[in-house]
């Protein structure tokens, strides 16, 4: 298939950046080590955002939402770690990502998760965290928790498939 020239230019530019080259120049182990950190970030995300989603969906009622939400900073840390390591992968070998359908799906799921999160924190979180420990969440909150969980599962699935969809 013919490549979009704009995307090709973007890909070439990304690969020419200092950081991408510096990452590759670190040698054979830089890539697997960054991948390991990327997997750890994934676990932090699932262990915080994923568990908060499950609580909102009705699992482990008895835990106040405000209490389990204290785990979220770990998810934010994991997310930042993965943005950093993920950027290294894209800069280091842009061609493998820019023209990769699995990577595009990963970005799509990330975008939906992000919009959903903004929606949740701007419209529902304030009320939801005031609810008692045994509270069932309103349908709207459950819906957003379900979308979040599904999106992160989608991010992991598409992410792990990237290597099988190299251009």
């Amino acid at each position: 298939m013919e490549r979009n020239p704009t995307l090709q230019a973007l890909s070439d530019w990304l690969e020419s950046t200092w950081l991408g080259n510096a990452f590759i120049d670190q040698g054979y182990w830089s890539w697997p080590m960054a991948e390991s950190l990327h997997f750890m970030g994934l676990c932090l995300l699932v262990g915080s955002v994923g568990l908060v989603d499950l609580r909102m969906l009705g699992m482990a009622r008895g835990i106040p939402l405000s209490a389990i939400h204290r785990l979220i900073p770990f998810g934010v840390a994991g997310f930042l770690l993965n943005i950093m390591t993920g950027s290294l992968f894209v800069l280091g070998d842009a061609d493998q990502y820019i023209f990769n359908d699995a990577f595009r799906f990963k970005l799509l799921f990330l975008a939906i998760a992000g919009i959903n999160m903004l929606f949740f924190y701007s419209t529902a979180f304030r009320d939801a965290k005031m609810l008692g420990p045994e509270a069932h969440m309103p349908l709207k909150v459950k819906l957003m928790a379900g979308i979040s969980l599904a999106c992160w599962i989608g991010v992991i699935t598409a992410g792990r498939l990237i290597t099988f969809y190299r251009p």
Binding site: P32, F39, L42, G47, L51, A60, G62, I156, F164
Partner: protein, 184 residues
């Protein structure tokens, strides 16, 4: 160097030949070729890998959340109720045991001839033993719902976090450190 030294012993050489015969037999089998995507469904291997990654996320995720709680983070979570997340971890463990065995059947030589694979299994074994210990000694005890958790358990939580990290690194390195991919 070590390998050739050991193989110089007749018994060890015999053992090596026996293992290789076993790998050849396994890799020629229909389940192994199916896992590698050579027969039947070409997406078998990627899909198994995806399940293995998802299982990792939920198993390690729940374990790390429990470790955080033991270390005194999010103390508003009653431990006996946090225990209700354990079935998620157990399901993830089953998913990863099944997907892991399938991957092993697909590439037995690759994994079993690599010392890193045994390090990974050792780390997971110890971390799971620790999770079980937390379940019976900490999470099942209503005293710790609000009460202070013993220092000994906090040390275990740090050790467990390190073990999961080591297991992840070892697991990822399996793709980069294998000495032999296949015997056939």
């Amino acid at each position: 160097m070590l390998g050739t030294g050991i193989c110089a012993l007749p018994e060890a050489r015999q053992y090596g030949e026996m293992m290789e015969a076993f790998f050849i037999w396994l890799e020629s089998g229909s389940l192994s070729t199916w896992v590698r995507g050579e027969t039947g469904w070409h997406m078998a291997f990627p899909v198994i890998i995806v399940f293995h990654a998802l299982g990792m996320g939920f198993l390690v995720g729940v374990a790390l959340a429990i470790n955080a709680r033991v270390l005194g983070i999010a103390q508003g979570i009653p431990v006996t109720i946090m225990r209700r997340f354990l079935p998620v971890a157990l399901l993830a463990l089953v998913v990863n045991a099944v997907s892991g065995v399938l991957l092993l059947i697909g590439y037995p030589t690759k994994a079993l001839t690599n010392p890193v694979f045994y390090i990974k299994l050792g780390c997971i074994g110890l971390a799971l033993w620790n999770l079980k210990w937390f379940d019976t000694h900490i999470l099942a005890n209503t005293v710790y719902d609000t009460g202070a958790i013993p220092k000994q358990a906090k040390k275990l939580a740090i050790a467990s976090t390190a073990l999961w990290g080591a297991a992840i690194i070892a697991g990822r390195l399996l793709a980069y450190t294998y000495v032999k991919l296949m015997s056939i």
